[in-house]
Symmetry: C2
Subunit: 324 residues, 2 copies
DNA sequence: TTGTAAGCGTTATCAA
DNA sequence: TTGATAACGCTTACAA
């Protein structure tokens, strides 16, 4: 690998001059500058990041951490972060779980955005510091150097539920996600609260546990199909599960929404195709915003207040207008 | 940031001893080892990658490069790479376009897998070397240090076409992707060849140009709908466009497959839901395989022969069994 | 078993 | 306008 000394030698100057040219310092003669540039090109020299980072003690690189490969909104988030980073002259790398800590704890990256349920609070708390801000998505974690950005799950879920109730549904089932996650809890709580407000009773036996994957929705629906009497509405904590459930219903000749109403959460690509009533959590914007806050924190504009992103109900066709 | 010297000082040993402990060298006393470990824990010391990489001149890190955020099979590929890397004790990072070259040209990464149409051949050729192997996906690039892995588009598309012909279709339209891409060319060629073999004529005016996005399929279908006589089958170069087209047909009361057969390519998540006949390109496996070849090349087992992944026809419901 | 010291590729300070 | 040199955090001969 050709290094700065090779360039210096070929150009007949010292390495500090080469460094100065490359970093746009103005204390170098035009003629020299040009020669050095030409040599760099000729030798196809590329500065070594490790050396640079080591010396400077920091870098303009954002790290994004995730590890769920089943949910396509991650690509949208990545897209948002990537755009913001590009616009603001930051580099951007992504790490899946395992390697992540290494990149947080060296100064190869200047800050991290994490949306990874497999990442422990402990690791995040340890990594965050005065010189290493972190933005966490969909997780509430209070620390002077960590900014949480969470989706407001409660309000849109309550709106959605209220309207399903207004459509005449009285017998509900709920299909939940991983019980430990904040977003699942909020969505379920909104569900319960709206029922209570409308004096509709709900027995815990009509809560079905899933894991946000389509299969778990499919399985839950199969179980629901065994009931003597189908619920009038199945409220799901995310789209994947709702779609799995719809597939099971379809296979068994149960019509949606005529026989049962179904709702999801996420506004995934597929939810559009399936005309599933759901809640839209803006992906690209979320990524962009996270990057923006991270960079501001990196650059000293400290702001770690909890930020709530609002989500919108997407009313589509899996809930019938007016029921008998 | 606490460094190796801090640990050394606290433990009352030299930095080389700390280094030896951390790297599992056996030339260090049990008592010392234990003390050092404890101190590392206490100070929550984490080795600095920049220093390490700089000194060692290499790293066990795989780089993946992509920049298309619309196609969800990327997550599957990432999943495959991630798993292989984990299993073989490699770190794994992802870079979108811009930053990529920096990571290729420092020794922060030991090799790269690229699936990015925006990445130029030139950059790849420059980065590849004896000590930096590259695996390119869906691009044919011959170089002693670059292994191309391409999908065999031709054979499965020919199979699919043959069967559509066998179903009785005679009037075809083709909806193509970006004309410059190899995969689009191959898919189209297979289409043409099967028609010719079956002595079915095809006029270029029934080729519609798209860009692999759903919208372009929707638009093309709108144009097709203006024809006096609908084609019997619309063969699309990928699923996204096929789905866009189906949506347009649906909106206009055209039934699939009764009024027109439609096929795609990719076996995207949505194609399953829409029961679209398509070709499955295995995503996870492709990523896993790419990582495997990359690591083997990194570890000196040079192999840069072109590798063809075979894809499978997924026969579903958007082509009717036997036509009038 | 442990410590000393050189050096990886940069940048920054200071002197020329 | 340029160059010599120390330092960044680490690994690795080699010496003790």
């Amino acid at each position: 690998m050709t290094g700065i000394r090779d360039v210096a030698r070929a150009a007949g100057v010292s390495i500090s001059t080469v460094s100065n040219v490359l970093n746009g310092k103005r204390n170098v003669g035009d003629e020299t500058k040009e020669r050095v540039m030409r040599i760099c090109e000729e030798l196809s020299y590329y500065p070594n990041m490790a050396g640079k980072t080591l010396k400077k003690g920091n870098s303009r690189t954002i790290l994004f951490n995730f590890s769920d490969f089943d949910r396509s909104f991650f690509l949208k988030i990545i897209n948002g972060i990537s755009d913001y980073a590009n616009e603001h002259d930051y580099d951007f790398i992504i790490s899946t779980h395992k390697s992540c800590e290494k990149y947080m704890r060296s100064n190869l990256t200047a800050g991290c955005i994490s949306l990874d349920s497999r990442m422990s609070n402990e690791v995040l708390l340890k990594a965050a510091s005065e010189t290493y801000p972190i933005v966490v998505l969909d997780r509430v974690l209070r620390n002077p150097f960590i900014k949480p950005i969470v989706t407001n799950n409660y309000d849109p879920m309550a709106q959605l539920m209220q309207r399903v109730v207004a459509c005449g549904c009285r017998r509900f089932a709920f299909l939940g996600g991983p019980e430990s996650t904040e977003d699942n809890k909020e969505r379920y709580q909104a569900f319960l609260d709206v029922l209570e407000k409308n004096r509709i009773s709900f027995k815990r036996e009509h809560y079905y546990a899933g894991d946000y994957r389509e299969k778990s929705g499919y399985r839950a629906a199969k179980i629901i199909l065994l009931s003597e009497r189908l619920p009038e509405a199945l409220i799901c904590a995310n789209d994947n599960m709702a779609i799995g459930a719809m597939r099971a219903f379809q296979e068994n000749g149960i019509r949606v929404p005529e026989d049962i109403a179904v709702t999801g959460f996420d506004n995934s690509e597929m939810s559009g195709v399936m005309e599933l009533t759901t809640v839209e959590v803006p992906g690209y914007e979320r990524g962009y915003l996270a990057a923006q806050y991270l960079v501001e924190n990196i650059e000293g504009k400290r702001n770690v207040e909890l930020f709530r992103i609002s989500a919108q109900v997407k009313w589509r066709k899996t809930v019938a207008g007016k029921r008998k």
